[in-house]
Symmetry: C2
Subunit: 320 residues, 2 copies
C-alpha cells in the first residue's frame, strides 16, 4: 500500500501507519511528509488547553460530537504527558471517547512525549500535517496547559480555546501557566458549579485591561449536557473568519512554515551530531576530560565546535 | 568587579549579576561558567515538583527555614512559567518568602521561560552552576510538575521530592504528568486535610508494584506548622547517602556533564543557524518558496542541509 496515496484517499489504516512512522522517527517520514505537504493548509486547527482537572478531555469529546452534528469531520490529537521511563501514555481519559471513535468521521490519537525535549512539539506538527492532508475539516489539539512545550504546541493552532472552571484559584493557576494571553476563546467549563459567573466577570475584567484587535469571547459550557457547545463552536468559527478577513491567518501560517523548516534543519543536525558524538574518538576524549573535571563543559564544547569543520560537511551529505 | 572572583568569594551582588548575564544570554557567560566550573560539584541539589496547587512554594519556603536551622546555606531556583508574550514571571508566591530573603544564608531566584523551548532548562542549568560555585550547601529547584521542560529540569536534581496533597485526583494528575516515577521522596503535603492517610497508602501500593533499588519514602507534611519537615529533610539526606554509597551520584553527574556539553554545542549551532538563516539569501529564497507552497518544508530543509557545507565551517570558526 502506498501510504501517501492511502492518506490522500482517506484510508484510516494508512493514516494510522503514517502516525506510527512519524512517532518512531523513521527516516522515510520526510519523503511522506514532503509528498503530503502540497495537500495541506485546508483544515481548521483548534487548540484546547487549561489546567489539569478543567475537564478538557470531556469538552473535546463534546466539541467533536457537535462538529459531527454540523457534518464536519474531526481529527483529535490528545497529548498526555508520559513518564520518561515507561514511554507509555495513560489513556484513561480517552476511554470515554469510545462513542466518537466508532464514527468514521472522527480519528483520535493520543501522543506521548517519548522523553525528548522538543520531540513532542515536532511529532505533533508532523501528525498535524498527516491529519491535514487526510482532509479533516477540523483538527483539535488538546494539551495540559502547563509547561513550555505545551505552550509551544498551542502555537500550531489557528484558534486557541482556554478552558477554565469555577474551581478556586483556577484563574491564578492559568495566569501563572502563561496561557491566559494565548486564548482566542475562553470556555468556562463546569459552569453549573457555584462561582461560574464570577469567573466570567474576572476574565472579562482582565480583558478590559488589555486585549488585542480580537477580544476573546467568554463562553459558559457544561460538558455533561452540552450547554454552551453550539455557542463555543460558533465563536471558534467567528475567530477563524476574523483571522481570514484580517489577513492574520496567512501571516500566522507563513511564520509557522518558516519555523517548521528551521526546526527540521535543527532536528536533523541534532540527530547527526548526537550520532557523531558517540562515534568520534576526539569528542569521546573531550567528554571524558570533562567528566574527570580536567576540562570545563564550555571549553570542551568550543573545541567540539572547532572540530565540526572537519566532519560536518561530510555528514551533512551523508544524511541526505 | 571581577564576577568570577566575586561569586567564588560569596558576593551576592556578583551572583545576581551573573544570573542576569546568563538569563540574557550574554556571550561572555561561557567564559564565566567555564572559569567557575572547577569549583562546582559540591552542592546538594534537591528538586521539588508536583501539581499546581500542591503547595510547593510554601513547602520550599519551610524546607529553606529548616535547612537554615541546621546551619546549611540554601539557594532556591523557582521556575514560574510565564507568558510567551509578556516575558515576565508572576512572583506572587515568592512574596511569602520575604523572611528568608533577608537571611544572608539564603538566595532565591525566580526564573521565567523567556519563550524559548529548551531555553528554560538551559538557563536553569547555568544558574545551578553559578549557585554551586557560590557554595550553597543545598540548592532547591522548584518547578510546576507538568510538562516536558519541567521533567527535563528535574533531571538536574540529585534528589527529587514529589509533592502530593489529599486533594481529589491528585495522584491521577501526578501519574498523568509522568512525575510519579521520578520521585526519590514523596511529600504528602496539607496532611491535616482529610484523606492524607489514603494518599500515603495509595502511593505505597503503587511502590509495592514497582520500585528500583531505592524505595522512595512517603512523608506527611504540614507547611503551616512545620510538621514532618525534619523527617523530610532527613529522608533527603538518606537518599543522598544512598546515591553516594551506591556510586549512582557519580554516574548521574557524569551523564549530566556529557549531556551538558552536547547541549552547549547544539545551542551554539542553533544560534548560529538561526542568525545565518536571517542573512543567507539562498535560505531566504528557499523559505519564500515554502511559504508560496512551491516547495515543501522537508525538501527545503534538505537543500539547506546541503548548503551547510559551504558556510558552516566558517561560522563555526566565527563563533569562537
Amino acid at each position: 500500500m502506498d501510504l501517501v496515496a492511502g492518506i490522500l484517499e482517506g484510508n484510516r489504516r494508512a493514516l494510522a501507519k503514517g502516525i506510527t512512522l512519524v512517532e518512531n522517527g523513521e527516516p522515510e517520514k520526510y519523503r511522506i511528509l514532503a509528498e503530503l505537504h502540497p495537500h495541506t493548509g485546508k483544515s481548521m486547527i483548534v487548540g484546547v488547553t487549561g489546567s489539569p482537572g478543567a475537564g478538557k478531555s470531556s469538552l473535546v469529546d463534546q466539541m467533536t460530537k457537535f462538529y459531527r452534528k454540523q457534518g464536519r469531520t474531526v481529527g483529535v490529537i490528545a497529548i498526555d504527558p508520559t513518564s520518561p521511563f515507561s514511554g507509555g501514555a495513560l489513556l484513561g481519559d480517552r476511554i470515554r471517547m469510545q462513542d466518537n471513535t466508532l464514527d468514521p468521521g472522527v480519528f483520535i490519537r493520543s501522543m506521548g512525549t517519548r522523553g525528548s525535549l522538543g520531540g513532542l512539539s515536532r511529532a505533533t506538527k508532523e501528525v498535524l500535517t498527516l491529519f491535514d492532508a487526510f482532509g479533516f475539516d477540523v483538527i483539535i489539539v488538546e494539551t495540559v496547559g502547563v509547561g513550555q512545550s505545551e505552550l509551544d504546541i498551542m502555537d500550531t493552532a489557528d484558534t486557541v480555546v482556554v478552558v477554565l472552571t469555577p474551581a478556586g484559584g483556577d484563574i491564578i493557576q492559568t495566569l501563572k501557566a502563561g496561557i491566559m494571553e494565548i486564548a482566542d476563546v475562553f470556555a468556562v467549563n463546569k459552569s453549573d458549579l457555584d462561582g461560574a459567573d464570577r469567573v466570567v466577570s474576572e476574565v472579562n475584567k482582565t480583558l478590559d485591561l488589555s486585549h488585542g484587535e480580537w477580544r476573546p469571547p467568554v463562553v459558559k459550557t457544561i460538558t455533561l449536557d452540552g450547554t454552551g457547545l453550539d455557542e463555543l463552536l460558533a465563536e471558534i468559527d467567528k475567530h477563524r473568519e476574523y483571522l481570514i478577513s484580517s489577513g492574520n491567518l496567512e501571516i500566522l501560517r507563513q511564520k509557522r512554515l518558516k519555523e517548521e523548516v528551521t526546526g527540521i534543519v535543527l532536528h536533523k543536525l541534532e540527530d547527526m551530531i548526537t550520532l557523531r558524538f558517540q562515534q568520534d574518538r576526539q569528542v569521546q576524549g573531550l567528554l571524558e576530560s570533562v567528566v574527570n573535571r580536567e576540562q570545563d563543559p564550555y571549553t570542551a564544547a568550543q573545541s567540539i565546535m572547532f572540530s565540526l569543520e572537519s566532519w560536518l560537511p561530510e555528514s551533512a551529505a551523508e544524511s541526505s
